[in-house]
């Protein structure tokens, strides 16, 4: 499979593997070529996971992660961490400790591109997860099924296999719970409490023995349903939604098996795939709220002031994706679910909030004029040219009717009457902001 390395495909790859492709990003990728760009994206994260300064409120945590996504030199690692945050959806609402939530995201990031089984083990021993799904209080003779059930239902095999047959029984839930007895917390760290572990014989997926949690994770990670479902979810997140019984998943499952569940190998396969660059994939996903926010800020060249954490928290809540606080262990629902009434309304409201950001007391800072190029070129710009520049800067492929509506908007005075457009300072602080606000609210901008 040879990838045609043109601007459209380069922008598509950068958009999916990160948070929106600026013209500069695309130029750089075109100059570097496909192989070097892909290698750069898949490169292991350099250095240790940098924790934020101690934080005591959710908004500060959220600001910290949004800022990472905005500035990261490893956008794919951040994007993938976001994927795992939805897969292993864990919320501060029950965990309560911001510190443990940071550690949790660190765990996800550390293993984001590694072997799935290693990620599973790290998550199973992660203090936030031990609190979130109650395994800290799962002991021999007094089991708690919560982790055992969600581990199978959500984290590995799923409820049903590709043919619609159940992947596990209620007895499996009990047996897996027994294997994880004694995996608990001591002073906020993982601890194995041998006195609380059930050393008896268990049977999981046809394997019988004195299984413990690590054994169970090996069994579940190697299960054919896991081998199919994890790459299916990755494909659906990065390319376009596919069902478990789609033949494409046969191929993806084979990659999972051959690579021993290495996420990096699966991603490389996805990013080299013809179908990834097909019309089915291009602009076929709905941006998540976090992608909406980060892409809007990145494409505008905006900076985010960390001094208003609770406002950023409000923005994420209104958009429908409060990081560190997914609504339940299922995580957030994706696709059209992101853009129901309240989600789409919030994208308009917060799009305007970004576009019309002015002054020191606003968390967002950017210069609308930068979207129009050099000042001396302004005089030559007519309304269609301004619309074209703003759409390009915001990486938006607008339909002709949208372009016409935006062009008419630029030329309408306060009475709604058409007037010749003059690009000057007033225009830049007025109509241009209005144009940006409208574009951020268009259905087209919501697509990735």
């Amino acid at each position: 499979m040879t990838v045609t390395w043109n601007a459209a495909n380069a922008a598509h790859l950068l958009r999916r593997a990160g948070f929106g492709a600026t013209a500069k990003d695309v130029d750089k990728a075109l100059k570097a070529g496909f192989e070097k760009t892909l290698a750069g994206l898949l490169k292991p994260q350099q250095g240790k996971f940098k924790r934020p300064k101690p934080v005591d409120e959710l908004g500060e945590l959220q600001c910290w992660w949004i800022a990472r996504m905005l500035k990261s030199k490893h956008p794919l690692a951040e994007k993938l961490t976001l994927f795992w945050h939805n897969h292993f959806a864990t919320s501060i609402a029950k965990v309560e400790s911001p510190d443990l939530m940071v550690l949790h995201v660190g765990t996800l990031q550390q293993h984001a591109l590694g072997k799935f089984q290693d990620l599973l083990l790290a998550v199973s021993r992660d203090p936030a997860m031990l609190v979130w799904l109650d395994n800290r209080s799962n002991f021999a003779g007094a089991i708690n099924e919560n982790y055992a059930r969600e581990l199978q239902e959500l984290f590995t095999t799923g409820v049903l296999d590709k043919d619609g047959q159940p992947n596990y029984t209620e007895l499996d839930v009990v047996e897996v719970a027994r294997a994880f007895t004694g995996w608990t917390l001591f002073e906020h760290h993982f601890a194995f409490d041998a006195s609380g572990h059930d050393f008896g014989t268990k049977t999981v997926k046809g394997v019988t023995g004195a299984l413990d949690g690590t054994d169970v994770l090996a069994i579940l990670a190697a299960d054919p349903s896991t081998a199919r479902r994890i790459p299916q979810k990755l494909w659906s997140f990065f390319a376009y939604p596919v069902a478990l019984d789609d033949p494409l998943c046969d191929e993806l499952a084979a990659v999972y098996v051959a690579s021993d569940g290495r996420i990096r190998t699966i991603l490389e396969h996805i990013f080299r795939h013809d179908a990834f660059y097909s019309d089915t994939a291009q602009r076929a996903l709905v941006k998540s709220p976090v992608e909406f926010l980060v892409a809007a800020l990145r494409l505008l060249g905006a900076t985010l002031h960390g001094g208003y954490p609770s406002e950023i928290g409000d923005v994420l809540t209104e958009l429908g994706q409060a990081l560190f606080a997914p609504p339940s262990v299922f995580g957030w629902k994706e696709g059209d679910q992101w853009v129901g009434t309240s989600g789409l309304l919030a994208r308009n409201t917060r799009g305007e909030w970004i576009a019309d950001a002015r002054g020191k007391n606003h968390p967002v800072k950017y210069a609308p004029s930068k979207l129009l190029g050099k000042t001396k070129e302004w005089a030559a710009l007519d309304a269609p040219a301004v619309v074209a520049r703003v759409l390009a800067a915001l990486d938006t492929e607008a339909s002709p009717s949208t372009v016409a509506a935006l062009t008419a908007y630029l030329q309408a005075d306060d009475a709604g009457q058409p007037q010749p457009l003059v690009v000057d300072a007033d225009f830049v602080d007025g109509k241009l902001r209005g144009l940006i606000s409208l574009v951020l609210g268009t259905p087209e901008f919501q697509l990735a």
Binding site: A142, K333, T341, A408, Y409, K431, P443
Partner: protein, 413 residues
């Protein structure tokens, strides 16, 4: 969009031929006797699997309760249970509902589930919303009822939720999902207020241009069009002054207040789905009275809502139904919590409800438990919702719950 349901009905009355298109049941609902307005239904959805045994407590069933033996640390103390009838009582947090039960306004269907229940939140939530135990229906049972009504000129149902909800999904037109009325205004730049109308006109043109384009764009365009219409509609909604006292800091309270304001406004919105989370109590269920406090938040909010309905003259026309995707294990677990179970009670509350225990509680005898240790089901959820569809909403229950022979339950006066 400015056609209210009432006006719509008036216009319908001038077009007698239109009646022929409506199913008999709908006709009955619409032609309700004077004094009885169009009927409203509010569905409170306790997400996470509410512990039904600690909500409607089988403390003294004839033939042996066993409740205290199953729930050694979590049992509601006998001294605290609020007795209703037949050895069944309420969680003390539901004190506000006890009087309603005795006054004949609270019907309780017990042991509600469906064949081969799922212990997965996701699957079970889908089944309670679709009303399809095979989990194959692509739409919600209320959504299918809305489709029977036909596409209205303005939305008749609302998901009081940040996300779309399956329960109200169907081919019955745009069903908005939102939690706050104040969000509905078209955003504009304070420093260029004169440009607001232009921005809005441009947005309207954009969404109109994308209608019918297919895929996500068309879906979003439809939603955007709906948003613009709601912005205008909600600008006309008058404030409503509550006479009831809703518990503070609960999203159920705010959801019910929003519902009340929209019902009072009489803008054709009659069917409300209010999901309310926080019931997945695997550990420390009663630490600091956690679950009992949630019961109080529920009971007090419902009572306040009923008082408000009364002051708005809507108490005879509105029913509230409380359900959850499953109950919890009969046995408590080792962490002071309960794991995923199956059967659970459903509450039907309002002046039009008939007070009492509408269906029997399952036997608590350990010998009668199912293979996986669950209480046997006594009531099919399709009979609960089917009775409401047929006798309250006037819909065609057989078409909404295909393949199910409806047993009408004594839930309604």
């Amino acid at each position: 969009m400015n056609v209210t349901r009432r006006n719509f009905l008036k216009s319908l009355a001038m077009l007698p031929a239109g009646y022929a298109l409506l199913p008999q049941g709908l006709l009955r609902a619409i032609m309700a006797p004077p004094g009885a307005g169009p009927r409203n239904l509010v569905l409170v959805d306790l997400r996470g699997g509410n512990d039904g045994l600690n909500m409607v407590v089988p403390y003294g069933l004839a033939g042996g309760s066993y409740y205290g033996e199953f729930r050694q640390s979590l049992a509601v103390p006998l001294s605290a249970v609020l007795p209703l009838a037949g050895g069944i009582g309420l969680n003390p947090g539901l004190l506000a509902l006890k009087a309603h039960f005795h006054a004949g306004r609270l019907a309780i269907a017990q042991g509600v589930s469906y064949p081969e229940p799922s212990f997965s939140h996701e699957v079970a939530q889908r089944i309670w919303q679709t009303g399809d135990p095979a989990n194959a229906a692509p739409d919600g049972w209320l959504g299918r009822f809305l489709a029977q009504l036909g596409v209205p000129s303005s939305p008749s149902a609302v998901a009081v939720s940040g996300t779309l909800e399956l329960l109200v999904t169907g081919s019955g037109g745009f069903v908005p999902n939102f939690q706050h009325l104040q969000d509905f205004s078209f955003p504009s730049d304070d420093e260029h207020a004169g440009d607001k109308a232009n921005r809005r006109a441009a947005y309207a043109a954009i969404t109109a241009g994308l209608a019918g384009s297919g895929g996500h764009l068309a879906t979003m365009a439809d939603t955007s069009t709906g948003i613009l219409e709601l912005i205008d509609l909600f600008a006309t909604v008058p404030p409503f002054t509550s006479v009831g006292t809703y518990p503070a800091g609960s999203s159920l309270s705010s959801g019910l207040k929003l519902t009340m304001r929209l019902l009072h406004a009489d803008i054709g919105m009659r069917y409300f789905h209010i999901p309310w989370g926080g019931f997945d109590t695997h550990a420390d269920q009663e630490l600091d009275g956690f679950h009992s406090k949630r019961m109080a938040l529920l009971g007090d909010a419902l009572h306040a809502f009923w008082q408000d309905l009364g002051s708005a003259g809507l108490a005879d026309d509105t029913l509230v139904v409380v359900f959850s995707e499953f109950g919890r294990t009969v046995h408590e677990n080792g962490s002071g919590g309960t794991d995923h179970g199956s059967v659970a009670p459903v509450l039907v509350f309002g002046n039009a409800a008939v007070g009492g225990l509408a269906t029997p509680h399952p036997s608590m005898d350990p010998a009668d438990l199912t293979e996986s240790g669950e209480l046997p089901m006594t009531t099919d959820l399709r009979d609960v919702f089917g009775t409401l569809v047929a006798d309250w909403l006037g819909g065609d229950a057989a078409a909404i719950f295909p393949g199910h022979a409806l047993t009408t339950l004594p839930l309604l006066v």
